[in-house]
Symmetry: C2
Subunit: 380 residues, 2 copies
Amino acid sequence: MTIERAERLKHFSEYYFSKKLKEIRQLIAAGKPVINLGIGSPDQQPPQQVIATLKSGVDAADAHGYQPYQGIAALHAAVHGFCQRYYHVDTSALQVLPLMGSKEGITHISLAYLNPGDQVLVPSLGYPTYTSVTKMVGGEPVYYPLQENQNWEPDWEWLDRLDTSKVKIMWINYPHMPTGTVASSGCMERLVAFARARGLLLCHDNPYSLVLNDTPQSIFSVAGAEEVCIELNSLSKAFNMAGWRVGWLMGKPELVAPVLQIKSNMDSGMFKPIQQAAVQALQLSEEWFAQLNAVYRKRRGLACAIMEALGCTYETDQAGMFVWGKVPSGTGEELSDRLLYEHDVFVTPGFIFGTQGKAYIRISLCSTEEVLQEVMSRIA
Amino acid sequence: MTIERAERLKHFSEYYFSKKLKEIRQLIAAGKPVINLGIGSPDQQPPQQVIATLKSGVDAADAHGYQPYQGIAALHAAVHGFCQRYYHVDTSALQVLPLMGSKEGITHISLAYLNPGDQVLVPSLGYPTYTSVTKMVGGEPVYYPLQENQNWEPDWEWLDRLDTSKVKIMWINYPHMPTGTVASSGCMERLVAFARARGLLLCHDNPYSLVLNDTPQSIFSVAGAEEVCIELNSLSKAFNMAGWRVGWLMGKPELVAPVLQIKSNMDSGMFKPIQQAAVQALQLSEEWFAQLNAVYRKRRGLACAIMEALGCTYETDQAGMFVWGKVPSGTGEELSDRLLYEHDVFVTPGFIFGTQGKAYIRISLCSTEEVLQEVMSRIA
């Protein structure tokens, strides 16, 4: 007897990393000393105060019951304070909705706003989840090209010409993954103006703002952005808490309400001690980021040296936890496979972020200097 | 400028409790001493060893990164051991997928198996989320009546006559919420036979099995069930861990694979210290449940006395964390509103579980004996 899976599953495969990590585990089980420079899971520890807060939080008698979907007031206040301190923007009129990471928010937003057949503007290159979730809810991804020779910003002429009558959502993500690009001055303003002119929901996915980035920015810095924007953020990368599953969504109450409606039918509120730990993290001083980025800066230097040794071209000032580089010849997938099978090193092939990424590879900075040096010695 | 929400949101409202709890918070803020006997959020503490395991787990250096979607091996083993000890069934050939509670699993399963227009058999009475999630993914709920005078089991003749050519999923839930009914001998077998004969995916939602129930049962106790069944389970009620968001889904690998495919595109693996804490809980001795149920048994006695005082009719041996009763006249909603506005006591009106529930109310056992006695004195 066969019970057929839904049609939507035929449009996308198991998340690439899910399958690739399985293969890597099998190689390691078979005795291969594989070094994984693929996925961006921070190897460093969360702040000690954050761990301590979780531990004391779980001792409270009121820690264990269902929590309101909207999250605790202290978390709302901490998020607004964080946005003020690091993005220099007053978000107090906006609503904060705790999420299990920004990835979960992509599904919630898509379910809240997309009807079957609606189009979604997805950056190419970009995070594959925008595509898979759009297809999962019956929407149609429309890829808008980012221009390699223009700081990986949108092709504005292409966008101007685009018929957006069926477009409902536009995804943006700066600092941009996988290219590590920080949006230039005016880029965000132009995106907000485009979304307002076309009546689109502009969703800014902003989890990398505090990593190797001297100019952290919220979309809400742009005047009038709150009319059409939702922003996703996460503690995963900024505080080495990827496994904790904590992030948030922010927007004006009218735009958040449909997402809350979806969420309240899908799951329950977030574990209170994790919310309390998140409050602690968001209140840390800038010293935390100075230390975090000192480590990533050294690693970025080594990752650039690996790119150099592989004959790749790359920018030295990339933001986020990766270095993105163009291979000297052939495809990134060929180089990735060669590194995996000949040198026991996995780097992410660029094609998984879009066809424009075919000639690229991406190196994660989530390994120690010693590990990155070991990679250097293997490929030298 | 207005950005339209998705059509699917017009088919269901914000989860009833989300709105009602907001009203109750407002009443309390206005000085009303409201006692909430509505939602089933355990007020007792999780096992101390479970809290201790979370605290030591979070000290490990490898606790903080992304986790595999499939969960840690120790959790799989603990779930299989739990099923053997309490349900007397060998589930070792089945796959375990950790979930943030069984509620989340309803969405994952629905996305994995339903195409727009597919029908879903939903118990009436039943948990409202089966309906809202079915509609959310474009499916059509078909309500199969449970018979009040037949132990709230399905109307088998009605099912036999039903054209199931468009039905893909059938939801079942015993011990049944909201009626507290334990399935009689043969009921599960008949359900599995029906699902096999009609080629349906039979999804058993089983979070109440260990609460005030002398005969805990898994659907996999039924021979051949693994061909067509998925079972959801949760630590929320069994271990007073509702806020922790931990449960699991179980089924043969071919039936779990589509759910994993959805999940890997929607979120990430579960926080490792919470998985470790769950392992600790699942390995507890039967003494835990003896203590837990001693407390609930006393409270059930008091809830029955409240039902008596309200002139309701009810069964005294209900399983789960609620007592369900039929109001003497009028509707459950009228009685619920009268209790809230005249006596500052909230009980759940039965209509939210289906039209057959109109004449009922439900009292939660998640308050202390003192609180239940205070309710008695208020309504006396």
